[in-house]
Amino acid sequence: MKKIATFGLCLLALNAAADCYLHSNIRMTRQNIVAGPTDFRRMATPDAVGSHCVVSYRVYIGNSWHNAEGSANAKTESEACMRARDIGRGYVLAEVEPTQMSADMQMVCSDAPEIQIHPVRVGDVIWESETDLHTMPAERPYFVYKGTRCRYFTEQASRDNNLITYQGVICKIDSTPDSKWSVVDKF
């Protein structure tokens, strides 16, 4: 019984381990962002002024998705969160090895599930940045299909020692900025 309890506690501890990032001083500019910002998640708390809002989101810079974060204060929660979404207030979050940490580093940690690229299936509801952009830049822009915003994605997989690339289409579930996406086709 003790063994089961200990094992359970270990599992809980593993699950509770937060993902931490270094709060970089890399300010974002529209020029170096290939796609996004997308997948907004916000956390608002009351403060002396009114509300403090931290918005985390994802941006595609170079050849991959990165976590980014912005924050702002305002009289109301909605205003604070709207300001926090402004790219000009955003910082890229850099992954850091625990051994490289020092006391003066500003860390950002979260227990929220980390968004990562992973294999998807038709019908899955996902964050946009759980799929990679199309390998061909000309196919990357969003398009409209049945009145919703969609885009192509590609997915790399290995089969019989060969690298194969699947393609597919994801579409936004609704028009709100916090909306998730649905995988509508994969081929």
Binding site: R121, V122, A138, P141, F143, V144, Y166, K186, F187
Partner: protein
């Protein structure tokens, strides 16, 4: 030539749709599949063309089959069909997408 083939198929589909005649289409060969091409002039017939292509997918046994479950030959055939369908859907709904 590719556009002509696409248009001929579109025309056949249009006639069959209007005449309410049950038409059975033969299965396309792989070579014929590679020559298929649809331009902006196909947009008025998009629904019929998508139905036609999905019927062909059914003939080939790849309709609604996850690509991971197909061997490489059939995965590429399915890819060609789906790419044609999405090219049509994207081009017809977003005519300015590729214009600079």
């Amino acid at each position: 030539m590719k556009t002509v083939v696409g248009l001929l198929i579109s025309l056949g589909l249009l006639i069959s749709a209007h005449s309410q005649v049950l038409v059975t289409y033969p299965k396309l060969s792989y070579q014929q599949l590679l020559t298929l091409h649809y331009g902006p002039d196909s947009c008025p017939y998009i629904d019929q063309i998508v139905n036609y292509l999905e019927l062909q997918q059914m003939y080939w046994g790849v309709l609604n089959v996850p690509p991971e479950a197909l061997d490489n030959k059939y995965r590429l055939i399915n890819l060609r069909f789906r790419a044609l369908i999405w090219e049509l859907r994207v081009d017809c709904s977003n005519p300015d997408r590729y214009k600079k």
